[in-house]
């Protein structure tokens, strides 16, 4: 009896193994397709990842990873003990949520609007216009907006005065920093962000719309019942990826907007590391901060991915 049971188990195992082997052989072409990319990730992403250990060292470039002294979690402790730590965490999270709330939906809405345009020339023209800002560097965007928002001769403040209002100190106030940040992102990235959605919409079967029209669905209903569901999986994927970027808010952009008068709300991990870390050659500390950001991102991505699978979406892995 026992022998047979064991025998059956072994047999089942062998069968499973041979089943797996058969599938592996059958899909060998697919594995071959994956191989170059796989090697790429190993060589250029995973091997360098070994460098993360310097977060646990007092890394000195001239000693190298091998000879730099190990200090355990000293740099993480320093990070959590920083007087600014909670301010920075709060700033980062707030900016992220504003970004998610006020920026993320914009490209979707814009893409839906563009998708409804029947005149091909007009559509392409507007599409091209709204995509242009993406190519202007933050240095340019910030300097143009500084000129416009300045208290000294800025157009916006001149207009405010003409309309009988007080001048507003946009550039050096805690209240205006966040709206300014989000607006600049919307301005620069909304058009660029539509590209993926438009590509997804291009794959929708036109027959679906015709059928809907037969049923008497108006334009808004068509958008709601056909277009949006068709791009749902793209939206979910982008949302998950966005959530993983919770602590990546665009160093250069914020660094250019940051000044002594708005530091309380504008300082984020990247700008902080720049002044406290890299500029002083503290590789280990900045690596530790980066590691912390990655952990937070990983947890959120895993959570979001789990949630998306829970509600029946594919997720990203």
């Amino acid at each position: 009896m026992r022998d047979t049971a064991v025998g059956n188990a072994t047999l089942a195992k062998t069968r499973r193994n041979s089943e797996l082997l058969r599938r592996l052989v059958k899909n060998r072409a697919l594995y071959l397709m994956i191989l170059p990319g796989f090697l790429f990730f190993v060589i250029f992403k995973y091997i360098p990842m070994g460098g993360l250990v310097i977060a646990l060292q007092d890394y000195q470039p001239y000693l190298g990873i091998m000879n730099s002294p190990w200090v355990g979690f000293k740099h993480f402790e320093r990070l959590f003990a920083e007087p600014m730590f909670f301010t920075i965490l709060r700033n980062t999270l707030l900016l992220f949520f504003m970004n998610l709330l006020f920026y993320f939906p914009v490209p979707i809405v814009l893409a839906l609007m563009l998708n409804e345009v029947r005149r091909e020339m007009f559509k392409r023209f507007i599409q091209t216009l709204v995509y242009i800002p993406h190519f202007m560097s933050w240095v340019i965007i910030v300097s143009i907006s500084f000129v416009m928002l300045s208290m000294d001769r800025g157009i916006i403040n001149e207009l405010l005065v003409m309309m009988g209002f007080e001048k507003i100190n946009f550039l050096m106030s805690n209240e205006w920093f966040r709206p300014m940040y989000v607006l600049q992102i919307v301005w620069r990235e909304a058009g660029w962000g539509t590209i993926i959605y438009l590509a997804a919409m291009a794959a929708i079967d036109p027959g679906l719309y015709e059928a809907a029209r037969m049923d008497g669905a108006n334009r808004l209903r068509q958008i709601w019942h056909i277009t949006l569901p068709s791009i749902r999986s793209v939206i979910v994927v982008l949302l998950i990826l966005k959530i993983g970027d919770v602590l990546e808010l665009g160093f250069e952009h914020i660094y250019l907007l940051l000044n002594s008068m708005n530091r309380e709300v504008a300082e984020i991990f990247d700008t902080y590391v720049y002044t406290a870390g890299l500029r002083q050659g503290q590789f280990s500390f900045s690596t530790a901060v980066g590691f912390f950001k990655s952990i937070v991102g990983l947890i959120l991505v895993m959570g979001a991915n789990w949630l998306s699978k829970k509600v029946g979406e594919e997720g990203i892995y």
């Binding site: 899909n27 072409a29 697919l30 994956i34 460098g51 438009l198 929708i204 990655s294 991102g297």
Partner: protein, 292 residues
Amino acid sequence: MVQDKTLGSRLFDIVNYTLLSLIGLVTILPFIHVIAGSFTTVTELATKQFVIIPTVWSLDAYKYIFSTNTLFRALGVSVVVTLFGTLFSMLLTALMAYGLSRKDLDGRGGIMFMVVFTMLFSGGLIPTFLVVKELGMIDSLTALVVPTAINAFNLIIMRNFFQNLPEGLEESAKIDGCNDWGILFRIVIPLSMPAIATISLFYAVTYWNTYITAILYLNDAAKWPVQVILRQIVILASGLTADTSGMEDFVRPPEQTVKMAVIVVATLPILLVYPFLQKHFAKGALLGSIKG
């Protein structure tokens, strides 16, 4: 295609067209300012803060930037890197994305997680530099392409597009006698032209914007792509470098008009890629054609 001509639909169109025109205007104005600024004089740019149509026209800035071959050469490098880089990246990405889009593949979840993981954790600049150095790519343009060949984000998007193709496509192709290579290149890719165009654009733009890797990996200034030159000029002209090395008495920063002209010249080539790719976004054309 049947157009519906109801009142509601027309109203919708009017609102939609008006809004889009306004949005287009708001997004383009600063760029027009840059173009206008490149065609005017330093004085005009200094006196008016936001030039839309110059009152004084001048080609001086363009004469200045094209008086040497620096910019031409840099543009040439950028075109080469963008072209080869995009092709190389698209090939690797499409292959890997297709493999990973097949639901019957063992281990695909693991590989996908491995890919996602690299989006969050990075060893940083120096270890990557060491790998590039060990592979002998320092001072070679391959260093601008190979270490960034696959962008995880693009891979995930691509895979998502492949996954959303109609089910049963592969089965019917197999019945027609296609192997996996055949399915990918004869069926999946032609059906995914909007996605291919999108991801190509993303790669092309990334390669065009290559900047920091060029400075790190290329020691020979003659190999710099255009973004390095652009940034150097923008930063010098914006007075962003502090006077800490005390060179400001020796070197005059470039004029604002020159800054604007370089932005125009360095941006136009990549801007033109999009209108060119747009035909691949033509709605439903591909699916329609396969059905018919």
